[in-house]
């Protein structure tokens, strides 16, 4: 039996979480270093997965399969395709930066009780989320996926509710109330989504008799498993609803601005760059594979919802006064692009969407983390409280600008490639929707540049005049992300090579072919 690489990639952060939580209260710094080392070791394992993965090989590789709960027809089945590999690498890459950026976020404010260990808890929860996210990218058993999809809500909930942003406009009590509201809203939205999916998961079992993604997809493809049209549609809706809450898609998005606004910047990155990707990933893997016909049936509605997300998210981002909420609405707009790419049902659209997931993760992480550094210096999240920062802290301003430019998909930075692919992929099949979606890009330029202008340029406000520039730790966080943005912007091939075969598989699942170019068709 070969080494269970996929299990190890998830088990390492899980064990690391337990170990971090067990560090004694006084050894706070040791806990931080332990968490960082574990996350780096996980990154190494993820890179091994990346190297061992053969893009031209089988659809699911590095598979593991063990009996688990036979009575429910559940097996412990792991396997990765190109999309999964790319997202595991993204997750493992971002977590060390999240930990490093949140280095001081969970230091206890008062030295009172010795048993309350917020620091250990904070880093342990981050590692726990990492483990569950990685497992949900790896699971090829629907039930197994569902378990981690749901269970990751609990550590996320504690991260949002337990460790709020200290830069809050109101009083402490007010801040605690809003934070707790945001955490509960996050949990309830996602829990309702998850429970509705549970009904669909049970329904799927009643129809199919087991939970193995490969077996069901195969049976669907060769016609041995026939689903009544209505059954398939209901099941599809059950699954899609949960993923649309997670992703989030308009009109199920309202938890995201609250959660990202109240959480610390690293946790906000964790939400939008890592956890939410499970939603879009699951649409590709589960909705399209298990319910191809229903996916095609629902496409028009989903595309319209995605389009609304793009435009509406961008419009609201323009109107925000709070930096973190602005990034949150920008993310809603970007998730609209991702979902549009997935349901455009073209290979460019879907590779673009997958690439977009990776690039959005990196660019949002860069922008949000720098924003977090900025906010922690001034102690305010309001855009109006800043001005002229680029004169005082040029490096901070510069990195903020690059993060912002990546968010608006400037050519030469990574998100441009993916956004372009998504738009091209959508345009070939749905030209009108493609055209309207481009307004999202224009609005993106507006909200990022206005944000930069208001905070960084202009006369130096007295409160920011003594603002220190980025420290070494912060530079270590930001520099690699920016380097990666530029690298993938000019040379996206490493990612597309891994992703493309997986996308072709998905395209053949839904039995869609790319529309022929019109010029050629006219000949």
């Amino acid at each position: 039996m070969s080494f269970p690489l996929l299990t190890a990639t998830a088990a390492l952060p899980a064990l690391g979480a337990i170990a971090t939580a067990a560090v004694p209260a006084a050894r706070r710094t040791a806990a931080k270093w332990l968490a960082l080392l574990v996350s780096l070791a996980t990154l190494v394992l993820a890179l091994v997965v990346l190297v061992r993965f053969d893009p031209g090989g089988d659809r699911y590789q590095l598979t593991e399969s063990h009996a688990w709960i036979a009575d429910f027809g559940v097996r412990y089945e792991l396997g990765v395709d190109g999309i999964g590999v790319a997202l595991i690498a993204l997750t493992a890459l971002l977590i060390p930066f999240v930990i490093l950026a949140g280095w001081h976020d969970a230091d206890p404010q008062e030295t009172g009780s010795t048993r309350w260990r917020p620091t250990q808890g904070f880093f342990a929860l981050i590692l726990a989320v990492e483990a569950m996210v990685i497992l949900s990218f790896e699971a090829t058993d629907v039930f197994l996926f569902y378990i981690f999809f749901e269970a990751m809500l609990i550590p996320m909930y504690f991260l949002i509710g337990g460790f709020g942003d200290r830069a809050h406009a109101g009083t402490d009590e007010n801040a605690a109330a809003q934070r707790s509201y945001a955490a509960v809203k996050f949990l309830l939205y996602n829990l309702v989504g998850g429970l509705i999916m549970l009904a669909a998961v049970i329904g799927l079992y009643v129809v199919a008799g087991n939970f193995s993604l490969q077996e069901i997809a195969e049976a669907r493809a060769n016609g041995t498993l026939d689903m009544a049209t209505n059954t398939e549609r209901w099941l599809f809706l059950g699954f899609f609803f949960a993923f649309a809450v997670k992703a989030p898609l308009w009109p199920l998005h309202t938890w995201l601005p609250n959660a990202m606004g109240e959480a610390t910047a690293p946790v906000a990155v964790l939400i939008t760059a890592v956890v939410d990707k499970v939603g879009t990933f699951a649409m590709l893997r589960f909705c399209l594979q298990l319910f191809p016909e229903a996916s095609k049936w629902a496409t028009p509605v989903i595309l319209v919802l995605a389009l609304i997300s793009i435009v509406y998210g961008a419009l609201l981002a323009v109107g925000q006064r709070d930096i973190k909420r602005l990034v949150a609405y920008a993310s809603i707009s970007h998730f609209g692009f991702i979902i549009m790419g997935i349901f455009a049902m073209t290979s460019q659209g879907q590779s673009g969407a997958t690439l977009y997931m990776v690039n959005h993760g990196i660019s949002t992480a860069a922008l949000m983390l720098v924003a977090g550094f900025l906010i922690s210096r001034r102690g305010s999240r309001l855009i109006a409280d800043y001005g002229g920062v680029q004169k005082v802290a040029p490096v901070l301003a510069g990195t903020f600008l690059i993060g912002g430019l990546a968010t608006l998909s400037l050519p030469g930075l990574a998100p441009f490639v993916s956004e372009f692919l998504v738009l091209v992929g959508t345009f070939t099949r749905y030209p009108v929707i493609g055209i309207i979606a481009t307004f999202g890009i224009v609005l993106a330029a507006l909200y990022t540049l206005v944000l930069y202008q208001r905070t960084m340029t202009g006369p130096v406000k007295p409160e920011v005049s003594a603002m220190p520039d980025l420290r070494v730790r912060e530079l270590v966080v930001v520099a690699p992300l920016i380097a990666l943005l530029i690298f993938l912007g000019v040379f996206p091939k490493p990612v597309t090579e891994i992703v493309n075969p997986a996308v072709e598989h998905t395209m053949s699942d839904v039995q869609k072919q790319d529309p022929k170019p019109e010029v050629e068709a006219a000949k």
């Binding site: 009575d71 981690f148 337990g162 079992y205």
Partner: protein
Amino acid sequence: MSAVAVHSLWTMAADPIEKIDAPKIEYGQLSPTLIVIGAAIIGVLVEAFVPRKSRYYAQVFLSVVALAAAFAAVIGLAAGGYGTTKAKIAAMGAIAVDGPALFLQGTILLAGLLAVFTFAERRLDPVAHGNRVDSFAAQAASVPGSDSEKAAVKAGFTTTEAYPLLLFAVGGMLIFPSANDLLTLFIALEVFSLPLYLLCAVARRKRIMSQEAAVKYFLLGAFASAFTLFGIALLYGYAGSVSYATIAQVVDGSIENVNPALADTMGNDALLLIGAAMVVMGLLFKVGAVPFHMWTPDVYQGAPTPVTGFMAAATKVAAFGALLRLLYVVLPGLRWDWRPVMWAVAIVTMLGGAIVAITQTDIKRLLAYSSIAHAGFILAGVIATTADGVSSVLFYLAAYSFVTIGAFAVVTLVRDAGGEATHLSKWAGLGRRSPLVAAVFAVFLLAFAGIPLTSGFAGKFAVFKAAAEGGAGALVVVGVISSAIAAFFYIRVIVLMFFSEPKPEGPTVAVPSPLTMTAIGVGVAVTLVLGVAPQYFLELAGQAGVFVR
């Protein structure tokens, strides 16, 4: 005319006296019940003859040994195949020894054992006049606040009668799910109900509330018992027998050898429907299903918390066992009549319990309403009317009872000057002050909410799957919606514990003795094991899912 002939004018020779067969009792197969009831009787003698100082130790020892021995007997019977191939009707048709009976008896015994541990806890209340005290009144007979009560407290009395009462209750609960005729069912019902009424009344703190709870429970319980008894009478009128098997035969028309005296009334559907409805009503009262749930919050709140935990766990197990047997063995022929009714009951129970729980401000009342919602989930499995339905209900009951006892045991730890601090506002910031206790309680709450990787999820999945396969897909949808509503208030408690600032004069967490720690520890361990690796126990429940008839 001879003397003999004269005599024969007004007498006639009787048939020779028929030999009455001595009833055949399978002592071995009834041993779990016999051990527990025997120990309960010895416990009464202990109360009478053992000096007051040593009664506590004698009673606790006796109860633990009896319950452990009875559990060993259940394991022995199950290992001997009585749960599967050798399942049979024992005690002249009164008791069924089969898979569901043994599984539920094992669950009840373990729940009872953990309950004894929480009953015996004497470290939580402050020492009174040099005596360690438990949750029970010094002298149940003395009026609250009277001089005689003060004297009893000063003398260090304790209500050690609680242990034999617990054993009697467990004994009745062991018979209840295995009863195979309606009279045994009724006697078992009374045998376990009466001790519970008494146990509710003997709280050391807040005695008036405790007595009020007991009176409410007793009155409503007596009312429900009367319904059951009336239903039994009507069913007897319908079938001419109280035996489950005979009634089932009459229902599906396969009866032979009809007693001519009964032929006229036998098979009267009005008697059947009204009678069955009344018996089922009595059982639904015991499981706490809406609309027969009114007693639950008051009784759960007023009873001493260890008793509440025991009652919430074990009563539910026993009553669902009896309900399952009644619906699956006696009334399967009537399922087209009872299923729609049970559908409605399950839906209102799930939704009602979950929605009303949102407004609760007392942790014990909150758990009471949550137990109502759980009764609804279990009913969804009952409605499946498949073998999977039975085993999923068995599994759910086992999972649920450990979570419940553990959760109520945690409630006993959080105390202020007035005893247990059950008002939710007092739990604010508990996670800051005692992270471990709060984390343990959070595990129990997540299990109640059915979050994956806890036993609650495995159980919920099992019953919903059975219900969906049994054609009750709509119930599953209602089930997940009420789960979502229910999740809200479990989460609210977690928010309160972890995200609220502790109040300056908030409650303290008492350090319990190893007894309560064992109860809580076992609860957590079972919750996590059944959540992560439920396969063995699902298989066990699956094998146990067939009734003997």
